[in-house]
């Protein structure tokens, strides 16, 4: 029997993998993908609870998050493209002109 908490555990793992990706990878594209994973973990929680309560609010909210994620990605990729033009690399740690 699959319980609510199974879904929540999957979501938590997904979320932490996403966070790990951000902390671990230097390729900006993969960092963005990891952020997508984090957002999707949130979605899974929404949908799981929506089923749990028998109310569809959660699904609507998840819908919004999907749209938001798409919006973020489009801006993020534009930033990456500019960065690549400027520096010829998309290693996020190469961008460290400003510090201190």
């Amino acid at each position: 029997m699959i319980l609510l908490e199974h879904y929540l555990i999957v979501a938590s793992l997904l979320f932490c993998l996403g966070l790990l990706g951000v902390l671990f990878r230097r390729n900006a594209l993969i960092v963005f993908m990891s952020i997508e994973l984090m957002l999707n973990a949130g979605n899974l929680v929404f949908v799981a609870f929506s089923r749990f309560f028998g109310r569809m609010d959660g699904q609507v909210l998840a819908f919004f998050i999907i749209a938001l994620a798409a919006a973020e990605v489009s801006v993020g990729l534009a930033i990456i493209v500019v960065m690549f033009r400027k520096r010829g690399t998309i290693d996020i740690n190469e961008a460290s002109l400003m510090k201190g």
Binding site: L8, A11, F15, G18, L19, V22, A28, V31, F32, I35, M38, L39, A41, G42, N43, V45, F46, A48, F49, F52, F53, R55, D57, G58, L61, F64, I65, L68, A71, E72, V75, G76, I79, I80, V82, M83, K86, R87, I92, A95, S96, L97, M98, K99, G100
Partner: protein, 491 residues
């Protein structure tokens, strides 16, 4: 589950942001259709929209008829923050024109994005639902990412956008996760419903709630740049175009605080959580780190960035005071609202001067560029001196009054240690603020003829200067306004 919405009412109540929204979209259209090089029309239209919106928000504030549509709330707190955002937007628009011309970023989208980002902030101020709050944050933040990176030719600007985007993305991820758990714990994201269910939160669900609150707080602390979630802000402030920095340092910070208010109003009833130690620690860390690192800065924008971190720390003193006894005290909240206004006025003035210092090809962002300003341009130097004094918190400026109210409200609830640390911090801050004054007056700088300042810049400096001094001497009405605003908050 459907709500009968009085759409007419919503239309009337929502005029402040609807005006901006309409004008923002209109500007996007005009940008496509308008082939002329001169974008002055955009500025004029934006200013008109700001004026109209300001009028509507002011009118609603005066009428004071709290109304809630469940997802959006319309009370004095939200309108006063609308007014703060609009003031920040106004000054930003005024100082923008010359700067963006110099930087070759003068385009209609610039104005449109500023307006639309402000709409996002207003959504945060009016949020009656966590989802609306979050989407407001995202509208604001995505606008800010783009504005920060709009100087495409400059690596720094792009770097700022990238850093802001990645860190903001993480914060958004954390917050979504938090909101999802909130939904799970209470069955809704609507703040007003949460308020009722909270009393019945039993222990099995409480973990979910705590997790949710923690993650949401992380997201909000990121927005106000509280330590240790502040790392983005110096780099982003330095890299972004100065006008955008001014906007971010004031409006976004205020928006972060109003969001924090909205959430705290609800979650403060979670009595299991020791709120005061938490907020005190955040506050101490934030102001201390901000001030100490600001001491070492040579770039004025970076210095102001750290100073803005420190000021968020001072405001958190008020929040800690407000959270005492698990109910938000009016005086402390009023003090924070007032502080946001004070800080916005002063900081915008300081940034206006930074913009005024720049020339084509030389943005004068180093503090050493201010050397000899006292002789080259005494008026500008005098104004900057006033702003620095105000940021330090010395009477008779609004900065002193703001700090005084904050600390007084903390003293009133007995947070003596916090106040001592706060006052000590403001002693430390005197060092770097006066460093700027010293540089202006006591160091020889290049002597060249000063080009006349643009009228819009002069106007904005004059306005902020007037505000800093006038409200420093006669703060009563403004404070009463702040106090009134937190009196009838819709939960």
């Amino acid at each position: 589950m459907t709500i009968a919405t009085d759409w007419n009412m919503l239309l009337v109540k929502g005029l402040p942001f609807l005006t901006l929204l309409g004008m923002g979209l209109l500007l996007l259209v005009i940008e496509v259709l308008w082939w002329g090089k001169d974008k002055t029309i955009m500025l004029i239209l934006s200013l008109l929209a700001v004026a109209a919106s300001f009028y509507f928000a002011w009118d609603q504030w005066i009428q004071n008829i709290p109304w809630s549509q469940q997802l959006l709330v319309f009370d004095r707190l939200s309108y006063i923050f609308d007014l703060i955002f609009l003031f920040c937007l106004l000054i930003t628009l005024l100082i923008s024109r010359d700067h963006i011309k110099r930087e070759h970023i003068e385009r209609g989208e610039y104005y449109a994005l500023l307006l639309l980002a402000t709409v996002g902030m207003m959504m945060m101020a009016h949020a009656g639902d966590l989802m609306v709050l979050f989407l407001g944050i995202e509208v604001m933040t995505i606008g800010a990412y783009i504005l920060a990176g709009i100087k495409k030719r400059h690596s720094k600007s792009n770097e700022a956008a990238l850093k802001y985007f990645i860190l903001g993305g993480i914060a958004a991820g954390l917050m979504v996760f938090g909101i999802a758990f909130f939904y799970g714990a209470t069955g809704s994201t609507q703040l007003s419903i949460l308020n009722q269910t909270f009393a019945e939160v039993d222990s099995s669900q409480s973990v979910l709630i705590f997790l949710a609150v923690a993650l949401i707080l992380v997201g909000l602390c990121f927005k106000i740049a509280a330590v240790p979630f502040h790392f983005w802000s110096p780099d982003v402030y330095e890299g972004a175009p100065t006008t955008v920095t001014a906007f971010m340092a004031t409006a976004i910070k205020a928006a972060g605080f109003v969001a924090l208010f909205r959430v705290l109003f609800i979650v403060i009833s979670l009595t299991h959580i020791p709120w005061v130690p938490l907020l005190s620690t955040l506050s101490i860390a934030t102001m201390t780190v901000g001030n100490l690192v600001a001491l070492r800065q040579t770039n004025i924008k970076r210095m102001l960035a750290y100073s803005s971190i420190a000021h968020a720390g001072y405001a958190l003193v008020g929040l800690a005071a407000a959270a005492k006894d698990n109910q938000l005290s009016e005086m402390a909240l009023g003090a924070i609202v007032f502080y946001m206004m004070a800080y916005a006025v002063i900081t915008l003035g300081a940034f206006a001067i930074v913009v005024a210092m720049g020339h084509r090809g030389d943005e004068a962002e180093e503090i050493s560029d201010f050397a000899g300003l006292g002789q080259r341009h005494p008026l500008l130097a005098a104004a900057m001196t006033v702003f620095m004094i105000a940021l330090t918190g010395i009477p008779p400026t609004i900065g002193f009054i703001g700090k005084f109210y904050l600390f007084a409200s903390a003293i009133e609830v007995g947070l003596y240690t916090l106040v001592v640390i706060g006052v000590l911090n403001s002693v430390v801050s005197a060092y770097y603020y006066l460093g700027v004054v010293m540089t202006m007056y006591f160091k020889e700088g290049a002597v060249y003829r000063w080009p006349p300042l643009a009228y819009l810049l002069t106007t904005s400096i004059f306005l902020t200067l007037l505000g800093t001094l006038y409200w420093g001497v006669f703060p009563k009405d403004l404070f009463l306004m702040a106090q009134e605003s937190v009196r009838q908050v819709i939960f």
